[in-house]
Amino acid sequence: MIDVIDLKKSFGSLEVLKGINVTINKGDIVCVIGPSGSGKSTFLRCLNCMEDPTGGQIIFHNVNIADMKVDINIHRRKMGMVFQQFNLFNNKTVIQNIMLAPVKIGVSDLRRAKRHNFFLPLTNLLRGKDKKQAKIEITATEQQIKAEAREKALSLLRRIGLEDKADVYPSTLSGGQKQRVAIVRALAMNPEVMLFDEPTSALDPEMVGEVLDLMKELANEGMTMVVVTHEMGFAREVGSRILFMDGGYILEENAPAEFFANPQHPRTREFLSKVL
């Protein structure tokens, strides 16, 4: 689904990623581990161009999204992202947090379609005979889009057991609750792949479990996931592949059982001996 080809990223003169090649298939749970400063977060943030790569390609659905000319917003809708610091919208209630993107994007698409249809007779007049465009079919009104988004948001909240928190502001939630809301906020766009950037690193130890449980559930449903994590237990149990990164390269890539039982690269062995 995502092909990363010779991905490079520098911040000024500091080269963080020095050429990453990896393929992420549908249904993969890729866990990225490595020491801090190894570039694993940068790698993840390059996947949806939160950081613009300075070299290489990221092919998502046959489009190189690392190209600055591509409208990245359209592709990001299909890639959910969860941050270490939750980043819930502080000025919106929990349910508004979840509904915001589906409503805004749905409504703006609807308006664009209406505009397109309205000017169609005129624009088609200027087009060549075989280049005429068809009307965009309009399936829902703005109210329907909003109602649908609300319905979906409520069912997502029900799923994580926080329906009673729908109308409170994020400042009243615990860290674990915030992170679970952040995860379903990303799910509200029906993404094809979820990117997790150290989702449990800012949590109290007590709350790590609830977030990991939700991620396991997602994994079991067949969601494609890329997880940067320090939770070796999670990586071993849930991951379908482990990437070990250091110094801007992927040093080792293997299935979890093999990776943890029999690490090949000396750097991997050293790292694992320290964290396990």
């Binding site: 917003n73 809708r77 941050f83 805004k104 952040a182």
Partner: protein
């Protein structure tokens, strides 16, 4: 620590109130002794239609300050947004240059000079005829836009960068995220400073008589010249300004409390 801070503030408040009270008492005593001045003022104010002028002046002062602030907020927000856009491309860089020049000009010249420039130079050159009040609204808007842009920029930069990232990560565009997520939070942070700007605008309206707009100062000045006595009119004028600004301060406090609801913990 907090307790002693509170105590200190209360003592300061008492001292200020005492000084103000004594000053007010002294003025009232003086005017009672010399009550002809008060009578003459009231006569012009009520019988010779002075109150019409005062109301008109109040209206003009309010229109100029409020519309100026509204225009200023719109311009300021636009400029601030331009200034925080990442600058890899040419267009943002050009826009940024224009905005720097704009802010530099309006912060670098006094309001009176801008009013005179617009009223006597720019608009006649462009062949536009505008009343003094309209010119004042325009200039106050442009001027406060320059100041508010800097306030707003600080506000936008005070919002955690993660908010913008989260908006972009779910597929919202930069302008949508800015408008729905970042700017509302920025406004909450800068509300006290924005209130300050509004107060400054109200007080600055006292210079619009330079371009023939009738504000509070013009009204009381007229009353003064009609009654050959300036002491009472100017004293009353000062009091009106103080009362207006106290009311605004109160309003801002209430608004701040309303906007704080997303920070509350229960």
């Amino acid at each position: 620590m907090e307790n002693s801070n509170k105590k200190g503030r209360r003592i300061a408040l008492y001292i200020i109130l005492a000084v103000l009270g004594i000053a007010l008492l002294a003025m009232i005593c003086y005017l009672l002794k010399d009550n002809k001045k008060v009578l003459r003022f009231l006569d012009v104010l009520i019988n010779s239609g002075g109150y019409v002028k005062v109301l008109e002046g109040l209206r003009n002062t309010a229109t100029i300050a409020i519309l100026g602030l509204v225009i200023g907020i719109v311009i300021g927000t636009l400029i601030a947004t331009v200034r925080v856009i990442p600058k890899y491309k040419l267009l943002p860089r050009v826009l940024n240059g224009i905005c720097s020049f704009y802010v530099g000009f309006f912060r670098g010249t006094p309001m009176v000079v801008q009013l005179l420039l617009f009223y006597y130079v720019m608009l006649p050159l462009m062949g536009i005829n505008m009343s003094g009040v309209n010119v004042s609204i325009l200039v106050f808007g442009l001027n406060s836009g320059a100041y508010i842009s800097e306030i707003m920029r600080a506000g936008i930069q005070s919002v955690d960068g993660g908010q913008m990232e989260a908006g972009r990560a779910v597929g919202l565009s930069f302008p949508t995220t800015m408008l729905n997520i970042v700017i509302p939070q920025a406004v909450k942070n800068i509300l006290p400073t924005l209130g300050n700007e509004f107060i400054t605008l109200i007080k600055e309206t006292s210079v619009v008589s330079f371009v023939g707009a009738a504000d509070l100062y013009v009204a009381f000045n007229m009353i003064g010249s009609n009654s050959y006595e300036f002491m009472v009119p100017y004293l009353v004028m000062a009091m009106i300004y103080i009362v207006i600004i106290m009311l605004i301060t109160l309003g801002i406090k209430l608004m701040e409390r309303g906007l704080k609801k997303s920070d509350r913990r229960n």
